[in-house]
Subunit: 204 residues, 2 copies
DNA sequence: CCTGTTTTGTACTTCACAGTACAGAGATTC
DNA sequence: GAATCTCTGTACTGTGAAGTACAAAACAGG
């Protein structure tokens, strides 16, 4: 995976390359980004690229990892507080708000990459399996807490509920990207919410 | 858009090219398919390609159109009979069965293409907007019939329900592709079903 | 400072792939 | 059966983009 930089300057350069590549890929798609583009955007030369990354594929995979980290880091604050229906609603609202931002009408950064790469590069696919698992973990944990507190029905399958929610998010973001209307995301989440509500403990 | 063939032989050739390209793209992704690949798979020469299509982009767009037609044609029989919850269940089952086929673990043919192309080629994006609209139309019509027959609550928004269902399908197929388990699709649809059930007229 | 290591600049090579040229085969019409 | 379309085979060109070579610059430690 190339050389890991040891000096501060090196780390900064590697990061500049990675950020530039991530940005370009996000906007144009993996296939439409050339190494020359990345160099220009990062203000770096060819030798830097090949110093820090083995080849183009290595760079792409590194972008995948860093993108996943970024997305998850952004979600975590609210995702960790998911332990009630109200908490879930707050999380959903944040996702919608984030998907509505002007520069982010491009669907889910992860989901978009996933469907571009999963079919081709099995190594990348594995990275997305991990990514979705990491993303889902705090949600599953939250649902379990809801179950322990009695808010959620004891015989509900929290993993299935979480899977279903992730699917709604991804599908909503895809339609939002195609139709260029963030509404689609809001609606999609409504479906997941209906399933979650169904799993609540019925009022006594 | 190239020459439309006038003879039977010409039509056959054009179709062979289109089918070969669709198949390759489906399996490897748009970017990884070269014209040489298509030629070889179709048993055609370079001149045929450029006789029936303007250039590579034109070929890709044609593939998009034909893929959409194929998918919709496969859905239609069951989709037209959606006018009860049981009918919807039958449609869902068919989708799951289709997504489980060995050669189709590659997510939704349309959705997959959509997220590859929507970000880049606005002309293609438009094609997907149309595709999803055509796909959704019979569902909306069916839900309306359910509303008229009284099965569905009169104040339910059928368009929103349909949107939400489409999102569940797409999200489910994406996760199924990444995780290589068709279960994801089944679960995702359960979310949509919950929302649909919520919209049923409560029993008197 | 001197020495080795990390980082960077530039110019080059190589090759795959989109697109072109052009002639030849096959069909169709009168 | 000649004239004129539609269709096909093959070989070529040009270019863009990945990857390489190699030396100079910046930096670190002693």
């Amino acid at each position: 995976m190339g050389h890991t930089p040891t000096t501060a300057r090196g780390r900064a350069t590697r990061k500049r390359i990675l950020d530039a590549a991530a940005d370009l890929i996000q906007r144009r798609g993996v296939a439409a980004v050339t190494l020359d583009d990345v160099e220009r955007a990062a203000g770096a030369g060819r030798s830097q690229l090949y110093h820090y990354f083995d080849d183009r594929d290595d760079l792409i995979r590194s972008v995948v990892h860093s993108t996943v980290d970024t997305v998850l880091a952004a979600q975590e604050p609210l995702l960790l507080k998911v332990d009630s229906l109200a908490g879930i609603d707050r999380w959903f609202d944040a996702i919608v708000a984030n998907g509505t931002r002007q520069d982010a009408v491009g669907g889910c950064a992860i989901g978009s990459l996933a469907s571009q790469l999963s079919g081709r590069d099995d190594l990348a696919r594995q990275a997305f399996v991990d990514a979705f698992a990491r993303w889902e973990a705090p949600l599953i944990a939250g649902l379990q807490r809801m179950q322990e507190s009695g808010e959620l029905c004891p015989d509900a399958d929290v993993t299935e509920l979480a899977d279903l929610t992730m699917a709604a998010i991804q599908g909503g973001l895809l339609l939002a990207q195609v139709r260029r209307t963030p509404d689609q995301l809001r609606l999609a989440l409504r479906g997941a919410r209906a399933a979650l509500e169904d799993a609540l403990t019925p009022l006594p």
